[in-house]
Symmetry: C2
Subunit: 338 residues, 2 copies
């Protein structure tokens, strides 16, 4: 298996992508192709005395900045690490592409160059969030901020396939993110989506609320990309605020400081459980190839985990299952309308 | 000053509303009118040996359940604690109404019976959230899930008045919740709202993201009620998950347990800082009277704090300032279009 990694993507590129590539190359049976400015990558690789033999470089002179306009940058920077990495995916020279770079640019390049799976109209970014009772896949968190109900149905089919075949849930439960649980709640958009999901054949449990995102009671939650993006970033914001305020509180007195010192393993454990950036990347579902988006602030470990997400998606033949789910739905819908 | 409190509202009514009323009656110079089933309220009041003289009861035989349809319950239960409490407000027999009951029913009753301020088309629920650098008022968190851009402009005017006159911020900064900071980001709805806010005379700083909700860097953030509701409930969900997972982590070993015991004051302090339910109620802005919504799970202390929010809103003549802000905007808009 070959995976291309955007060596220029992320706040600390190429340092952390290279660090992640080295860790992943040692851990997983795959070849990693670092895409980016050759000299800068070589320099970073030079820091590792034993460079793994399953890492190679494909030169890409241009870099798309984190805040550049996706459409314009894809058009202008034809030799960027994102464009060249996605072209490797399109030409089937790699099985997956991973980037911690400009999310919009990765979405645009993946959609325009690689194209979408048959029956899928828009890609969606899925993220796996930790919860009290287990993990929940939330889709879409920002690829499509003004979707049609049919797009959410397609997200449901893709999210269910991911939960079933990659996360290993036998019969994933799926909820629709809304402002209340009753079927009568929500906007016209939500009510129409509810109707589509009900007749779709997925294990649809009805409306769920923001409360349910971190409860871990549902395997998949679908939402429009606007609400999903707000929910995700609000959660990041709160986690950060709690972290800062807790540290401040723990410095209150010599006693609390001693307590914090003794309890430090518990804080490390908690961070491992809730810091989803450390859990890996967000699959961009719907693309006719595996494309994984990692957080811009990813550490080397987070990059390694994003590569693991790509590896698992390829290994479990995710897209084959998505196409089967779409076909099954289309057949099902035809029979019901006939 | 007289404040009516829904004694039947909330998960543990009438126990916690009565407890909150007793605390508030002792702390603030005001009269509290408990609205609800007289016998049940009397029974709860009987638990306090020294019942404050500034508490009285107005009997309301009906109770609207937390999950009842707002419109139907308001229509059918004409003698509910919410309806009778809101009627006291309408008839100017009280200066404010506070309820931890069915949010939708409070919004409907306040809007239909009391009416809206001149120039305001829809009420909005505002909530004050704690952040790293200070408090942020988020409006709307669910009164209006499918608003027009003009409604968000009105939320901005009302939120700014609240931040200025009740929260005491000299020149509040105001952001529009979006999926990115650039002016080009977002849906057509957001872009239109952006244009309205830019020409409105409020101290509009542009788009803000979910990241900014708990940063405390902005005084007021406006959003549609769908996204606001999702953001708020997601945050509650994450805070709960972190609490559960942290407790579990702290039980890991005898050492971490000892650490947790020594650091317990820090956890109490953190809870006080971040638990917004303990900070009081959410003002329902736009109603021609002060109407405050408390969390259904409010403790007695939270109810007392919701009464404090009502007290402060009345004391600072909030609605007079809102009307002035709306008039100023209307004049400003006329001059610009002339």
């Amino acid at each position: 298996m070959k995976i291309a990694l955007d060596a220029m993507g992320g706040d600390a590129a190429p340092e952390t992508p290279v660090a992640g590539a080295v860790r992943a190359a040692r851990e997983f049976p795959l070849e990693i192709i670092l895409v980016g400015q050759q000299d800068a990558i070589q320099q970073q690789l030079g820091r590792y005395p034993k460079r793994p033999s399953n890492i190679s470089i494909v030169h890409a002179p241009d870099v798309i900045g984190m805040d550049e306009s996706p459409a314009a940058s894809i058009r202008k920077k034809r030799e960027s690490s994102i464009t060249i990495g996605v072209e490797l995916l399109k030409d089937k020279k790699v099985d997956a592409f991973v980037s911690a770079g400009n999310t919009g640019a990765v979405v645009s390049a993946s959609t325009l160059l690689v194209g979408l799976l048959p029956g899928i109209e828009r890609p969606g970014i899925a993220i796996i969030l930790p919860g009290v009772k287990g993990d929940t896949l939330l889709i879409d968190v920002g690829a499509n901020i003004d979707p049609k109900p049919m797009h959410l149905l397609q997200y449901a089919l893709m999210g269910e396939s991911y939960a079933r075949y990659v996360m290993g849930k036998a019969r994933p439960t799926l909820g629709l993110l809304n402002v209340g649980e009753e079927e009568s709640k929500g906007t016209d958009f939500i009510k129409e989506t509810y109707g589509l999901l009900e007749g779709s054949g997925v294990n649809f449990v009805g409306n769920v609320e923001g409360h349910d995102i971190f409860s871990g009671e549902f395997d998949v939650i679908v939402c429009d990309g606007f609400a999903g993006n707000i929910a995700l970033k609000t959660a990041e914001s709160l986690a950060h605020a709690i972290n800062v305020l807790l540290k401040r509180s723990l410095m209150m007195s010599p006693i609390t400081r001693l307590g914090a010192f003794l309890a430090r393993d518990a804080f490390v454990n908690l961070r491992r459980e809730v810091d989803y950036a450390e859990r890996g990347g967000a699959p961009l579902l719907g693309v006719d190839g595996i494309s994984i988006i990692a957080h811009g602030a990813s550490s080397g470990k987070a990059i390694k985990n994003a590569i693991r997400v790509a590896y698992e998606s390829v290994r479990h033949d995710l897209n084959k299952h998505v196409v089967e789910a779409v076909n099954l739905y289309t057949q099902h819908a035809k029979e019901h309308s006939a």
